[in-house]
């Protein structure tokens, strides 16, 4: 049966901004639609309207010519609209199965059968009886998708689904989505990633600043034309200049092992690598292969053998993060909101999290607020954080601005080595470019970077040397020129190359 979803003259006004300005769109099943736009373009607002989370000020939505009254997410579900949000809505401590059946009236046996057949059909491999917190991001997303599929949806809306996925997981997702589309599910794919739109979608609607800019067939578009529509100007491409790499070794990891007491963490097995001054070492891998553990060991959140980490001719394996900072190391963790910064605290207070002795934030145990504020102002101006109020709680910064603040906080002490983990996760193009430029600049100043990332493009763009982590083991280290994304893909999947 054909599904037709029509958005008619939808307007949503928030105090101080028009999030959707008279948007009209029509979708038909059998095709995959992209809704493209930068962060803040109004995509998410539109999606929230379609899923009943918010109500538009004006305009209507029709499903198969019938007007839809969406007062709550439940109404969307009842009308066979399924949603997979960018941030997962799962109960971490419940098992996969419990998460899947939580809002269903059918018996467990019927549901288990149903779920099993869905998993078989789409080749999903997930253990239903483990708690969700043990799953990788890609698996969690599959759980969300299954939860939608149980209800036989007519429409499936995916909100930035690949921001947490690896290349492989992404291509798996695309295969599934294509299959769903063939089976008659109308798919709306929200993203700001141009490449994905070209790969996956049949039609693309571009939004900018709350307005619908264009609707067109993919065939008549290319990446440049879409980028221009999305950003409203031509994007500059960033290229790293090949630098003379020095032979001056900065950090050396020797026979690093980590055996976790937590059965759901990944053990690390005999990790060895070194990074020279001015070099960027990229570590690729599918999420959940030990990156988080490796980051924590490098940052000192997990203490290891003293001699396993040699930094600038000192053994520092047994030092905590604060002590390592004194040796001129800096860290930018993956989780901006729960680890790298505290959203409920003010911007300048977040700056004080990187407490470097010579920055004198705390004298004799007392807070030196004026010093911290002065420092915060410098970071904001030096790193283009878009605000002038350091008293603002950092939850009001956009993801990109928060990341600039974090990177700025870590870099303003001019460390010799920056270790960052998925630094551009979930950011818009402008912010990604800025972060990439900043990272390249660090290398040009003869400082080093260890970049742990699940974004292969990013790694190929920024790294001088690349290695792949798989099941807690590091592949051999390759120079960036000899590596292609295909080769990385093979290694990330646990394969071998010669």
């Amino acid at each position: 049966m054909n599904t037709n979803l029509k958005i008619s003259n939808v307007t949503k006004i928030y105090p101080g901004c028009v999030a959707n300005d008279n948007v009209s769109l029509e979708f038909n099943s059998g095709k995959i639609y992209a809704l493209l736009g930068e962060n803040g373009a109004g995509k998410s607002t539109l999606v929230k309207i379609l899923s009943g989370v918010i109500k538009p000020n004006e305009g209507e939505i029709f499903l198969n010519k019938n007007i839809l009254k969406l007062n709550s997410p439940l109404d969307a579900k009842k009308n066979d609209i399924g949603m997979v949000f960018q941030h997962f809505n799962l109960f971490e401590t419940l098992s996969v199965f419990e998460n899947l059946i939580i809002d269903s009236n059918e018996t467990k046996e019927v549901l288990r059968e149903k779920i099993d057949s869905i998993m078989k059909k789409y080749n999903f491999l997930i253990n239903l009886d483990v708690p969700v917190l043990n799953l990788s991001a890609g698996q969690k997303q599959k759980v969300e998708i299954i939860r939608c599929l149980i209800r036989n949806p007519k429409v499936l809306i995916m909100d930035e689904p690949t921001s947490v996925l690896t290349e492989q997981e992404t291509s798996e997702l695309f295969l599934s989505l294509k299959k769903f589309s063939e089976e008659g599910i109308l798919i709306i794919y929200i993203t700001h990633k141009l490449k994905e739109v070209m790969q996956l979608c049949d039609e693309v609607a571009v939004m900018r600043k709350g307005k619908l800019v264009s609707v067109s067939e993919i065939k008549s578009e290319n990446i440049e034309s879409l980028a221009k529509k999305m950003v409203g100007q031509n994007l500059k491409t960033i290229k790293k200049k090949k630098l003379e790499t020095s032979a001056d070794q900065l950090i050396k990891i020797t026979n690093l092992n980590f055996i976790s007491e937590d059965p759901f963490e990944t053990n690390l097995n005999n990790i060895n690598f070194s990074v020279n001054r001015g070099e960027c070492l990229g570590i690729a891998g599918i999420s959940g292969n030990g990156q988080s553990e490796l980051f924590q060991i490098l940052s000192g959140e997990i203490i290891s053998d003293k001699s396993s980490i040699e930094f600038n001719k000192n053994y520092i394996g047994d030092l905590n993060p604060q002590e390592r900072r004194e040796y001129l190391m800096a860290f930018s963790p993956e989780d901006r909101l729960e680890q790298a910064a505290i959203p409920q605290m003010k911007i300048f207070e977040n700056v004080a999290l990187n407490n470097f002795k010579s920055s004198n934030f705390f004298n004799n145990g007392l807070i030196n607020e004026s010093k911290i504020k002065e420092h915060a102002k410098k970071i904001i101006s030096d790193f283009n954080v878009n605000t002038d109020n350091i008293e603002l709680k950092s939850q009001f910064l956009s993801g990109g601005n928060l990341q600039k603040l974090i990177i700025g906080r870590e870099l303003i002490t001019s460390p010799d080595l920056l270790i960052c983990f998925n630094p551009t996760w979930g950011l818009d193009v402008g912010a990604i470019n800025y972060i990439h430029e900043t990272l390249i600049k660090i290398n040009e100043q003869n400082k080093s970077i260890i970049l742990i990332s699940t974004d292969t493009d990013e790694l190929l763009k920024l790294s001088d040397k690349i290695s792949v982590i798989h099941k807690g083991e590091l592949s051999k280290i390759m120079s960036a020129e000899e590596v292609t994304s295909e080769k990385l893909g093979v290694l990330m999947g646990g394969g071998e190359i010669d």
Binding site: E301, N320, G365, K393
Partner: protein
């Protein structure tokens, strides 16, 4: 039509208004309960909240009850602010009383200026020792501090029971479950002739000032704040998490221990079975009613202290069981938690435009 809308961010005004709202609701519900029991609500509330503090003696009693509540709640706010759930202050108070009482008994027939400081110090150390048990178990064995600290309350009460009935009982006391009277030198000085308010109130006030300074002006306070929001961030920043857990428990235990000293060397003057009418538990309510802010805690301790006094007056004049006081304490906490809903949601009346 009434509609409930989620706030974009918790309201700061509401944050300080909800305690007031909770108290108003408690008064209202309390009046209703009195009415159902067959009393005139306003008269009953007057007996409960105004009569007890209408004269100097009553006011001194109010401060007397508020002192331990304030002191313990200040200590607890160190724990609560940094994500450590110490609910065993009653046990720390009792153990502090035991240790300081034991020391005071050593000097029962001596006088000297040096005795009181030693007794006070012993109480603080006793409280710290007792608080260190859940702290150490938490840091090194991953136990749950809520359970451990709570269960230790009953252990301490049984130890006290054993001591006052057995080895420490007054040899001339006709087998009453109590110890000898402490010597005058082991007693906190009374501030005004004829009233019971004693010098312990200065300990509480000092704790207020010192804690305010630590919370808002020191690196330790900053670390506590960070740990309270996110332990992951605290770890990433490189704060010594275990050390801090132990430190806040020790501070909290010291405050509770001092409250215990204040009771036995103040109004009581000896050890017996009931050194505290559950001050350690009530102080949890005080800490949250005061929003974990030192100044807020002063007000909260005064308000909650009234419920102790009011319960006694009500028992005498209206023949209502004094446990009504606990009903009021419970209602305050209940309404406080309920009105916290307004922090995150606002009520909108349909028809009003924003």
């Amino acid at each position: 039509m009434i509609k409930i809308v989620k706030r974009d961010q918790p309201s700061r005004t509401i944050f300080f208004l909800t305690p007031v709202l909770a108290i108003i609701l408690t008064l209202f519900a309390g009046g209703l309960i009195f009415y159902i029991l067959g009393f005139k609500p306003f008269e009953a509330l007057k007996f409960f909240f105004i009569v007890p503090i209408a004269d100097m003696y009553g006011f001194s009693e109010l401060l007397l009850k508020a002192t331990p509540l304030c002191l313990i709640a200040i200590g607890l706010s160190f724990c609560f602010k940094s994500n450590n759930w110490n609910i065993g202050a009653e046990g720390q108070l009792t153990f502090g009383a035991i240790v300081s009482g034991g020391v005071a008994l050593l000097f029962y027939n001596q006088e000297g200026f040096y005795i009181l400081p030693i007794v006070i110090l012993a109480g603080a150390i006793g409280g710290m020792l007792y608080a260190s048990i859940p702290a150490i178990l938490k840091t090194y064995f991953n136990t749950n501090e809520i359970l451990v600290s709570l269960m230790l309350v009953y252990v301490s009460k049984l130890i006290l029971d054993y001591l006052v009935v057995g080895p420490w009982s007054n040899p001339e006391g006709f087998n009453f479950p109590e110890t000898r009277q402490f010597s005058e030198s082991a007693r906190l000085p009374i501030l005004f002739e004829g009233l019971r308010i004693h010098a312990g109130i200065f300990l509480a006030l000092a704790a207020v000032v010192v804690s305010w300074f630590i919370f808002y002006k020191t690196y330790l306070g900053f670390q506590m704040k960070v740990s309270g929001f996110s332990l992951k961030t605290a770890k990433y920043a490189g704060y010594k998490g275990k050390k801090m857990i132990i430190l806040v428990f020790l501070i909290s235990g010291a405050c509770a221990g001092l409250a215990g000293v204040g009771e036995i060397t103040g109004p009581i003057g000896q050890l017996h079975r009931e050194v505290s009418p559950d001050y350690g538990f009530t102080a949890i309510i005080v800490a949250f009613l005061g929003r974990l802010h030192p100044v807020g805690i002063i007000f909260a301790s005064l308000i909650v202290a009234i419920t102790y006094l009011g319960a006694e007056t009500a028992q005498i004049f209206m023949q209502i069981p004094k446990y009504t006081g606990q009903v009021f304490q419970g209602m305050i906490l209940f309404f406080l938690l309920a009105s916290d809903y307004l922090l995150f949601f606002k009520i909108k009346f349909k028809g009003s435009k924003k």
